[in-house]
Amino acid sequence: MIEVQQLTIKTKEATVVRDASFQLTQGKVLGLVGESGSGKTMTAMALVDLLPEGVTWSGYISYHGKELKTFSKEELRRLRGEQIAIIMQRPMIAFNPVRTIERHFIETIRAHQAVTKRQAKAIAVANLEKMGLPPLQILSQYPFQLSGGMLQRIMMAMTLALEPAYIIADEPTTALDTTNQLTVLKELKAIVEQTNVGMLLVSHDLAVIQYIADEIAVMYNGFIVEQAPLTSLIKSAKHPYTKRLLQAEIGRENSQKIVNNIVQHDSCPYFAACPFAQVSCQSLPPLLEVAPHHQVRCIQIERSKSVCPSSK
């Protein structure tokens, strides 16, 4: 299990993530949903210590009981790739354009496993087949000859080949067509079911997340504002922002105030845009447990329950 407690991430200019706490268990998918700038990608990157230069994190992250801060550089390197694999947002640029797919595969596999080139190729073939791709054709191609959807599935095949215990998927379907989106999500779902891998799925699109997540954490302006199991969140969301995400449907007029995200450290992160904001909302609300495993960061819960129209 990967445990994260009170994770705070600071850049030189601002605090982009504050007090995030969650767990990743094997066999389960945690979905992290939020707008651009909410801090979700930084949170995901912090788990493998891959934050950009100048960005620091504090808090507690442990991998199977061992704290991440105590890992040596070499242990961290092996952690990434062998234990925790990352699927990136834009598959088109994640590949070296002058290398064939076969070369990519073999290099990746041999960087983490002591196998011969032939064995590596066999692993590659097996994993490509699992993704429903014709292995021999694909291996001889260059990245520019393949579409985004195929590249994303190849990247997933590569991460699978390393048999990681956890997968972090950062907006894996955002750059793809709707037709490819569905295929990729179905593959991700199949991966979790077949290999018992633990997954952190990051996206701005709640529809994408609810398709495969078991538990969802909603982030806004650097804070986790609501966290609950799937059905709990969908059927009985409590935070005004979550409700807004659920209600956002084409055709339903719902205008929100346009605001520039400013992280006020000691007020509710949603204060500027919330239709129910009160004076009392200017102090930072704590995460309250409103139901088993269902936590919300809002002091207006009682009020919003009665005033805000429910989602269904």
Binding site: S147, L206, A207, Q210, G251, I258, N260
Partner: protein, 256 residues
């Protein structure tokens, strides 16, 4: 009487790298369509189906290999340069909201550019009109002073829309205008586009791979596949072709 007529338009490229035999690639083959004022045509298809190429040809930035496009009876590509009377009637909103603006200009300057090309307004008149455009797209006056790096994707796309409507055009080509935005913002922008269409009697050609978004705005839907229009219907429910059904099925089933 349609104001936009596209007749048997085709576009092909020669592809093949150095030392390879050059092959002709037909991005668009034999496409015909027409559009009336105030109508929205949804152009859907997978990537590579030719919809963006078709959009560029109608915009006037890419000359078709064959066929002709007329606006109010005048040929778009009749002369070497597009006549300025037609130029101001067809505008665009691109997918990449940051790439579509000069990062050094303020929002006000971005919106003012088309105005300064076609009209001679005094500073006061220009400022007033820009404020009007900003409020039409849902932004307060102070957003005019901001630069693209200070704006979010949704806000910047509103600026792009304000620039597109500044000259009061008849037709706006929307090339995947919401695909690069967050899900929740996509919905807001779609609503805005619908509002503006009704208020200003705009015609749209809405290019997208997202059938759900398209069907919200479109009066007609044309499905493209491998450079051809395989089907053209008035409502999503009427789609019968296999390829069209594939696009329909791509919608994520949601619990909410």
């Amino acid at each position: 009487m349609s104001f936009l007529e596209v007749k048997h338009v085709a576009k092909s490229y020669l592809v093949g790298s150095f030392m390879q035999k050059k092959v002709t690639f037909e991005a668009v083959s034999d496409v015909s369509l027409s559009l009336k004022t105030g109508e929205c045509l949804g152009l859907v298809g997978e990537s590579g189906s030719g919809k963006s190429t078709l959009g560029r040809m109608i915009l006037g930035v890419e000359r078709p290999s064959s066929g002709c496009i007329t606006v109010d009876g005048t040929e778009l590509y009749g002369t070497k340069k597009i006549p300025s009377t037609i130029r101001r009637e067809i505008q665009v909103v691109f997918q990449d909201c940051y790439g579509a603006v000069n990062p050094r200009m303020t929002a006000k300057q971005i919106i003012a550019e088309p105005l300064r090309n076609f009209q001679k307004l005094t500073k006061v008149e220009e400022q007033a009109y820009i404020n009007e455009l900003l409020s039409m797209v849902g932004l307060q006056e102070e957003y005019g002073e901001k630069r693209p790096s200070e704006l979010s994707g949704g806000q910047l796309q509103r600026i792009n829309i304000a620039r597109a409507i500044a000259l009061k055009p008849r037709l706006i080509i929307l090339d995947e205008p919401i695909s690069a935005l967050d899900a929740i913002i996509q919905v807001e922008i779609l609503h805005l586009l619908k509002q503006l269409k009704e208020k200003l009697h705009l015609s749209y050609i809405f290019i997208s791979h997202d059938l759900q978004a398209v069907s919200y705005l479109a009066d007609q839907i044309a499905v493209m596949h491998k450079g051809k229009i395989i089907e053209q219907v008035n409502r999503v429910e009427e789609l019968t072709e296999h390829q069209s059904k594939k696009l329909l099925q791509a919608r994520l089933p949601t619990l909410f």
